[in-house]
C-alpha cells in the first residue's frame, strides 16, 4: 500500500472516528487533538483493519512512542514492510 493511500485512510479515521478538526501531519496528537492512551489503543484496532492482520504485543508497544500523524504513517509502513518480508 502506498503512503498516500495510508495517509488518506488514517486522516479519514482521525476525522470521522476521533473527531479531529483540520489535522496536520506534524500536529502533536496529544497537545493539539487531546489524543490519549485510550485513543491509542482504539487506533491500533483501526490500523489492524488497514493492515489486514493482527498486531503482536511487541508491535503494539512500539506504537506508544508515536507523537504525530507522520509517526503513525511511518509506523504502518514499517510494520507492513516487515510483515511482507
Amino acid at each position: 500500500m502506498q503512503r498516500e493511500e495510508i495517509q488518506r485512510q488514517i486522516l479519514t479515521i482521525l476525522e470521522d472516528l476521533f473527531e479531529f478538526e483540520n489535522p496536520g501531519l506534524n500536529d502533536n496528537l496529544r497537545d493539539d487533538h487531546g489524543f490519549d492512551s485510550i485513543d491509542a489503543i482504539e487506533l491500533l484496532g483501526e490500523i489492524e483493519k488497514i493492515l489486514g492482520f493482527s498486531l503482536t504485543r511487541a508491535e503494539k508497544e512500539k506504537a506508544m512512542t508515536i507523537r504525530t500523524i507522520n509517526d503513525i504513517l511511518d509506523y504502518i509502513e514499517v510494520i507492513a514492510s516487515e510483515h511482507n518480508k
Binding site: G34, I38, I41, L44, G45, E48, K49, F53, S54, L55
Partner: protein, 414 residues
C-alpha cells in the same frame, strides 16, 4: 453531627417522558409508556413477554467524543440527567471539583449491550475480528460505569458510591447519598440510577415466570399492580438523578428546595434471594420512620414498589397495612412505565416530588378490580387533588434488599 439534607434539583428520563410537563401529563391522563418488545436479534424469539417500558423519543445528547468514548447507552442516560441537574443548579466548578461533592449512582449491571458485544467476540472467530474487543469496552460495561462517567464529565473529585443492588440500586444511591451529607462526609451528592434497553433482563424474569405475558397485544394494559388480573412485571428503561445538598448551604445560595429527605432505611431479609419477606419489609418501613423521627400517621402517600407480581403485591400490601393501616394513599407508579430496574427508586421519587409540587396523586394505572388480598390499604383509584406533606418511596430487590426513603414537601420546609 447530623445535618438536614434537601433535594434541590432532579431530572428523569422515563418511558412516559423526559420533560416534567410530559411526565405530569402522562400521570394525569393515564398514559402508559409500555410498548411492544423490540427485536434485538439475540433473545427476543425465546421470550414469552413481548412488552417493555420503552424510552421511544429522541434525546439530543451534546457530549464531546472525549466523554462519549467511555460511555455505553446506560452512561448516556446517566450523564444526561446528571448534566441537567448540575446545569440547573449552577454550582461553580470550584465546588464541583472541591472533593465536597460526591456521586452515588449505578445501574443493575453496567451496560448489557456492550457486554453482549464482548461476548459475541468470544463466540466468533477472534483472529478474524482483530482487536474487536475495544480498549474502552470495559469502561463502558463495568458496573460503576455510570458513576465514573459522571465524575469524568464534570470533574467531580468527591466520593463515589456505586451500589448495584438490582431494583434497589437507585433508592440505595439516594439513601447512601443522604447519609453522606447528613453525617458531614460530603456537602452535596449527585444520586440516582439508570438502566438501558435490555432484553436479557426480560429473559431472566421471563424464565422465573415473573414477567407479564397476557397483554402482549395490549401493552398499555400491563403491568397491573394490585389488580386481580395482574400477571407479572414489565421490564423498562430510564434514568433518574437528584442533587442532595446540606440544607443550610442550599438555603444560603438561594436554591429551590424541592423536598427534604427526612428518613432512610435499608436492610436485608437474611434468607431467600427471590421471595418477598413481610418481616424484612415491615422492619425497613419502621426503621425509616424511626430515622425520620415521625409516626406512621404522618405519612400521606406511599409510592409502592408494586411490580405486579402475584405474591409481591400481596406481601407489600400486608406490610403497608401493618405499618400504616389504611390511611395514606398508595400508588404503584410502575403501572405507567414498567419496572425501570436500577433507575426505579430515583424515578419514582422524582415522580412523587412532581405530584407533591403540583398537588395531586396519580392513581395506579390498570387497577380495575383490586385483588382482595391487597384490599386492606388505601389504593389511589382516581386522580386525586391533595396536598402531600410527607411521602414514602419503598423499593425491594432480588437478593432480599429492602429500602424506604421518606421525603417532606419542599413547600413545607422552614
Amino acid at each position: 453531627m447530623k445535618r438536614r439534607v434537601v433535594i434541590t434539583e432532579c431530572s428523569a428520563i422515563t418511558p412516559i417522558g423526559y420533560a416534567k410537563d410530559d411526565i405530569v401529563r402522562s400521570l394525569k391522563e393515564g398514559i402508559s409508556g409500555v410498548k411492544p418488545l423490540r427485536d434485538d436479534g439475540l433473545l427476543t424469539d425465546y421470550i414469552h413477554s413481548r412488552v417493555f417500558g420503552t424510552v421511544d423519543y429522541p434525546i439530543a445528547y451534546d457530549f464531546k467524543r472525549l466523554y462519549r468514548k467511555t460511555m455505553g447507552p446506560v452512561a448516556f442516560y446517566a450523564c444526561q440527567v446528571a448534566k441537567d441537574i448540575l446545569e440547573r443548579a449552577g454550582l461553580g466548578q470550584e465546588f464541583i471539583s472541591s472533593g465536597r461533592l460526591g456521586v452515588a449512582f449505578s445501574s443493575t449491571h453496567g451496560s448489557p449491550s456492550i457486554q453482549r458485544h464482548i461476548y459475541k467476540t468470544f463466540f466468533s472467530n477472534l483472529k478474524s475480528e482483530f482487536s474487536s474487543i475495544g480498549a474502552v469496552d470495559y469502561l463502558k460495561s463495568m458496573v460503576h460505569t455510570t458513576a465514573v462517567n459522571i465524575t469524568r464529565m464534570f470533574g467531580i473529585t468527591g466520593r463515589v458510591i456505586a451500589s448495584s443492588t438490582a431494583c434497589t440500586t437507585s433508592s440505595q444511591s439516594i439513601g447512601f447519598g443522604y447519609e453522606m451529607v447528613k453525617y458531614g462526609m460530603q456537602d452535596a451528592m449527585i444520586c440516582g440510577g439508570a438502566d438501558e434497553y435490555d432484553t436479557t433482563a426480560v429473559a431472566v424474569f421471563d424464565n422465573l415466570l415473573a414477567c407479564s405475558v397476557a397483554y402482549n397485544d395490549n401493552p398499555e394494559c400491563t403491568p397491573r399492580p394490585f389488580d386481580r388480573k395482574r400477571d407479572g412485571l414489565v421490564v423498562g428503561e430510564g434514568a433518574g438523578a437528584v442533587l442532595l445538598e446540606e440544607y443550610e448551604s442550599a438555603r444560603k445560595r438561594g436554591a429551590n428546595i424541592l423536598a427534604e429527605v427526612i428518613g432512610f432505611a435499608c436492610n436485608n431479609n437474611g434468607g431467600d434471594l427471590i421471595l418477598p419477606n413481610i418481616d424484612g419489609i415491615i422492619t425497613t418501613l419502621r426503621l425509616a420512620l424511626d430515622d425520620a423521627g415521625i409516626e406512621a400517621a404522618d405519612v400521606d402517600f406511599v409510592s409502592a414498589h408494586a411490580t405486579a407480581t402475584k405474591m409481591g403485591d400481596v406481601i407489600e400490601s400486608q406490610a403497608i397495612a401493618a405499618v400504616y393501616g389504611d390511611s395514606p394513599l398508595i400508588t404503584g407508579l410502575k403501572s405507567y412505565m414498567g419496572h425501570t430496574m436500577g433507575a426505579c427508586g430515583a424515578i419514582e421519587l422524582i415522580l412523587t416530588m412532581y405530584m407533591m409540587e403540583q398537588g395531586f396523586i396519580a392513581p395506579t394505572l390498570n387497577l380495575e378490580n383490586v385483588d382482595e388480598r391487597c384490599g386492606m390499604i388505601n389504593h389511589a383509584r382516581k386522580l386525586t387533588a391533595t396536598d402531600t406533606n410527607i411521602a414514602a418511596i419503598q423499593n425491594f430487590a432480588f437478593g432480599g434488599v429492602n429500602t424506604c426513603l421518606l421525603i417532606k414537601n419542599g413547600s413545607a420546609i422552614s
